[in-house]
Symmetry: D2
Subunit: 316 residues, 4 copies
């Protein structure tokens, strides 16, 4: 059996896992992300060393949020870590023996879902839409990651879906993630409280009564308990996700669309409205096969599993 | 030298050409598209036979508007010809000796531009945006056509760019081609005349004075002659094309974007505003390499050239 | 008791009534609208003469669709009848003895509702939103019709609510009536059938199975019978009406908003979503008194009743 | 000659003036707005007393930002001062002898422009659009202020012009003032700098090189000096103002629309694009008289002049 190591560098923690060729995590370790970005390579190397059985692995795949160059070594730009044209791959490589590849984290997760998760019944293609604080995405086509001409494809969270729409941290307006993400859900819930919507009683009690502390998890729980406004807000969230998915399908024509990230926890509560909006907005739907829309299955581990697998099947 | 035959089935005419492996059309013939769709295969076979030197070709590539199945033989649905799940490839195959492949016409054109036109300096990837009556598109990635999971990718004319926007013939609202196509240009010019815009004097004189007969060619000529409103309308058209191109680049990250179709005749008059809108709306532009936006170079022959080449390099 | 005569000139019929000072119609007559617009004044005079008791009236008020000049005699422009700067008042006046005033039909209806219908509990102000084939409106403020500086105020059906939205017959895009009218409802239902929405089974059976013959009445009945897609379409219609009403309230701050026209027949099925959308979209709702949203009560007779009353209380 | 006193309570200063019946300010005084809202009535009374000749005035009109009740005494809600259902009129009245009326500040300014400024050639109606940090407005119709059913009409800065648009401080999305105000102008300029727009060189040098300190005045000056991007941003601002004005004219049909506030300083640089957008977007423009669009003429003093005049002509 060929093993590989996957590393997921997030804004708050770095997690690493030893992954089998069937996508099982055999051992895993994690630690907080160092505040000093220059300490990250050492932290990654330490984590790799702590994995039991790491000596049997054939490579290390690192997933990181940001624009990864087509060399699969350089992080051109990261939204949450102070990296500009950072040679992350080489820095880690100088500290470890196994070959290192770097991948965009959502791409790695898409590959994980394609290989071992929501895409197990397809060997051709899959689109992953990860809905968390923002929206990320990854595209697999003809059994390969689609990285684009410069390595920065699938930045789907920033496709514009509303002209002159809500301002995004990226400097543009109307980005998908301003409507279809967990942050959008929480923002809308807060607005309802602040505008004294009479139906917002139960939502107003969340976050210990402080609207700025309301969380997506709380809203999801409230909706599952049947609170009408929470259900409406999640339905609206699903509608936006589905309308964006229809745009993506018009361009990419995936056979499988997997919805991952924190929102997947809401399950059918969101998925039903995603599917309805998707079907309503897909052009010429009566004349084309339709993508299978489903929840992702690997949860937070998709990135580690996918990164490890990419190190095995697509070494630099 | 390996020759191949390319056929372009349009709504008004069918054109065929014998194409060299360097993308030169050595001979070409055409005839009107039969009104009876069932007569099209015979017409195609006739045209092929009339090409001088056809016996030396290795295959026939047919480009047709519509959804082409992943078998590259069947037209699932065509917007302008009465085809539903039409086995076009087999029908032509039964009348000719050379192997036949069918391709979406915009995909074929994208392949032609990638191989011999606007993409001659890249061997990796290109996005073609064809702006004519509608908007078509084709994606090349890693040196291959991107067809999607069901063969119907790159229907970019129908990506929604305005929620609740202008109704499209496809049944949806806000499709890209309702804002960025030649038809949109003509429609907007007509509106100005009908609303008695005082600046629309010169435009009102087009079409022999009949607003319903104004054409995009006339408007382009008027703009080239400096008519302020015509210039404004073409600038606005370019703005929409560029904003849509920014959405596509966010998802696809092409290194080359070629603008083809009739609008290319307007040249810099449109391209300048395409580029400005593209750059203004591309997220995180300061942190990523930027696609080269340029005019397509093969004109109407891109489809024939591309279809022929696909028959050579990607036989069924 | 002071009587007055109200006349409502529609695209298909002309109706006239003798109206008491409490807004009761004591006698009424009607006939088809002549195809030749120049025959309309004679038809109006004939109808007036046929009313039992007309000799006791003090004046004639005529409601007509279109832009009515501030002289309350001239129709500047009518969308459905071939009138341009038509001296309708004078033409009728030359055929009858009673003094004649002309009013925009929706203004007349607003006055009727204000005086005797939905506004009976206010003597200050009311906004009428008439939702039929299109959307019309009338504003009453400080106990008077608000006609604007040129007599063409309250063309609310053409306020833009979606930039770059659906094309309107008026030449603009995104007009309120393209989203919130009965025509919009029917159009959306047809689209669902044509796009083969699997939930559109019951709707597809309307109009004798011919989507182009589906009517708003049929859809309303279907929704009342519980068909989920018909309910959804009416809810969506109500949402648009309510969002537009919130824009109007931001500008006009009415204390009563009455919803009239054919859509009123759907009752709570539509009104509930109108109210929800209105409340959700009204700025600073927690800090202001809120308009009372309600159904109009006079039905099709609002125009006749209002026009008659205006002839009595506001003679030229 | 009848004199009256006008007071303008702003977020940073309170100004008072003695105003003649021809709208001349004969004397004026001002002081900073007290941080403690409860100290404002005393400050107002002090200012009144300091005016030379105040004993000859017949009344005091106070303009304040916020929702003013139909009693013309109570401020229901103010966006920048901590007032909720504040009996401002009575509090000042207890400190002064002259009768006091309170008016929304933009309404007062509209009245001032109508009586002595941009509306001097009309005695019927005027719409004022004040474009400063936000957008305010006031409506005069039939020679009277239009206050609405609850006193809070003409909150035009918060009419929604973009569904799902930019978030507004009011809790809603897509409000007019998020697109057509000075704040919108500055925000857009900053975005261009932060996105490293290559044309933004001159703008980047504003604010002492700190994008967060760029001001509208600086941008206007730069545009007057011919900087292409500054001109483009002001043109875009004018376009939004004009499109909103077309919506307002569809509803209100004013014969005069005056554009006031800080943006008026940009003069034709903005007004030309306001007029073009207005005319392009006004429905059925060929069939209706068109409002005269012009700059306001009273500048910052419109509020004081209007408030004083309202105290004279419309005492409580």
């Amino acid at each position: 059996m060929t093993l590989a190591i996957g590393v997921d560098i997030g804004g708050t923690k770095i997690a690493a896992g030893l992954v089998s060729e069937t996508g099982q995590i055999l051992d895993s370790v994690e630690e907080p992300t160092p505040e000093d970005a220059s300490a990250i390579p050492v932290a990654v190397a330490d984590l790799v060393e702590r994995l039991t059985g790491e000596q049997d692995a054939v490579g290390i795949g690192i997933g990181a949020a940001g624009f990864v160059g087509e060399d699969r070594q350089t992080v051109r730009f990261a939204p949450n870590i102070d990296w500009r044209e950072e040679p992350l791959g080489q820095r880690v490589q100088s500290l470890v023996k196994l070959p290192v590849v770097v991948e965009n984290d959502a791409n790695a997760a898409a590959w994980g879902e394609f290989s071992f998760g929501a895409g197990e019944d397809t060997d051709d293609d899959l689109l992953l839409i990860t809905v968390g604080t923002g929206i990320g995405g990854g595209i697999v086509h003809h059994g390969q990651l689609y990285r684009g001409g410069f390595g920065v494809a699938a930045e789907i969270g920033h496709m514009r879906i509303v002209p002159d729409g809500i301002l995004c941290g990226c400097g543009q307006r109307g980005c998908y993630e301003q409507y279809g993400s967990g942050s959008a859900l929480v923002r809308d819930a807060r607005e309802r409280v602040l505008n004294e919507d009479p139906r917002a009683g139960a939502i107003a009690a969340l976050g210990g009564g402080d609207p700025s502390r309301i969380t997506g998890q709380e809203l999801t729980k409230l909706a599952k308990d049947g609170d009408p406004l929470a259900v409406e807000l999640l339905t609206e969230l699903g509608r936006w996700i589905g309308e964006g998915a229809a745009v993506l399908a018009t361009i990419l024509d995936p056979s499988v669309i997997a919805i991952g990230g924190g929102v997947a926890a809401a399950g059918d509560l969101v998925l039903a409205s995603v599917v309805e909006a998707f079907e309503t907005h897909l052009p010429a739907r009566a004349h084309r096969p339709q993508a299978s829309l489903r929840l992702a299955t690997l949860g937070n581990e998709a990135g580690i599993i996918g990164a490890a697998d990419l190190a095995r099947v697509e070494p630099v």
